[in-house]
């Protein structure tokens, strides 16, 4: 991996964790030849929008591809008997 790609991925990952609008520790960030790819899931549509906002604010000059989705939660899981 190119050193600039390497440190940019780390910088974005840290920004996602530290930004108080996000506190997202569970997103994947990869950078290949300067192109940024972010994937993973967040809990709400507002948080997905906040990811995009952060990227616009701080990494507007980058080629960013955001594949983040909102977790879809269904009703209760079928019961499991624990022996």
């Amino acid at each position: 991996m190119d050193a600039r790609d390497h440190y940019l991925a780390a910088e974005i990952q840290e920004a996602l964790a530290r930004d108080p609008r996000l506190a997202e520790l569970h997103l994947d960030v990869t950078v290949v030849s300067g192109a940024v790819h972010i994937s993973g899931e967040v809990a709400t549509e507002e948080r997905r929008a906040a990811v995009l906002e952060l990227l616009r604010e701080r990494f507007a000059d980058r080629d960013v591809h955001c594949h983040v989705t909102v977790t879809q939660t269904e009703g209760p899981q079928a019961p499991e008997a624990i022996a």
């Binding site: 506190a23 507002e46 209760p76 899981q77 499991e80 008997a81 624990i82």
Partner: protein, 238 residues
């Protein structure tokens, strides 16, 4: 038999109002008790947890919870805990509580836990003071879990509830490099030594639900992103 609903990592914030409410209102139709495996909030502010507390207050079965690492981010863990307690939740940190339904007593021992890694690939209390403090945090938590399990030794069914994982099984899907930040075998040792019927944890969003301790006790990772359901339901003591 007692039916236990469980979920972790709901990560409530100001934008979460109503997200799980329809499912929480109906818990009593599916379970006798609801367990929350930490990371109640996104950043651990009282404002965030109050959104969840308002919804939890509508749950019609006993609710028992532990905090997670996110609930510490804003340095307000006591406020987060108090807000949940005001909503009627029994919050555990090195403590235990019981719930009795139809003659079956469930004992729940709870801690947040901490990291360190797993047997053969664990950090050691060695070297710099910071490293010793890191491992001492996990060792203290494991000791408190042991005390809590002993406090409910007479219960018909016992559950160890924590946020961090006691086993690597339920972490599969996470990157191996971060396992030491996801849990510790030290949290598992008291469970195998003192006995329990089930261990519940969260924290590992990309892990898998089912695992087992080296001593053969069922472990379930109930992080909401793993379950993709509002909660899991486990039947014990049947």
């Amino acid at each position: 038999m007692i039916r236990v609903a469980a979920v972790g990592d709901v990560h409530y914030g100001e934008d979460s109002a109503g997200r799980l409410l329809p499912m929480l209102r109906d818990v009593h139709e599916h379970a006798d008790v609801l367990l929350l495996a930490g990371d109640l909030t996104r950043r651990g502010t009282v404002t965030e947890v109050e959104v969840l507390a308002r919804e939890i207050a509508q749950v019609q079965v006993p609710v028992i919870g532990v905090l997670g690492n996110h609930d510490h981010e804003a340095d307000q863990p006591a406020g987060v805990r108090a807000a949940m307690e005001d909503a009627g939740v029994a919050m555990l940190e090195g403590e235990a509580t019981t719930v009795t339904r139809d003659g079956t007593t469930l004992g729940v021992a709870g801690v947040k836990g901490f990291g360190g890694g797993f047997a053969g690939a664990s950090g050691s209390s060695f070297g710099e003071p910071e490293m010793k403090l890191f491992m001492a945090t996990t060792e203290r938590s494991a000791g408190e879990l042991a005390g809590a399990l002993e406090a409910v030794a007479g219960a018909d069914v016992r559950i160890a509830l924590m946020h961090y994982s006691p086993v690597p099984d339920t972490l599969q899907g996470e990157r191996l490099e971060i396992y030491p930040f996801l849990g510790s075998y030290l949290l598992c040792e008291p469970v195998d030594r003192l006995g329990a019927d089930l261990v519940l944890h969260g924290h590992a969003h990309r892990g898998r639900e089912k695992g087992v301790t080296p001593g053969g006790i069922a472990v379930r990772n109930v992080a909401e992103p793993v379950l993709r359901h509002a909660y899991a339901v486990y039947e014990l003591g049947g």
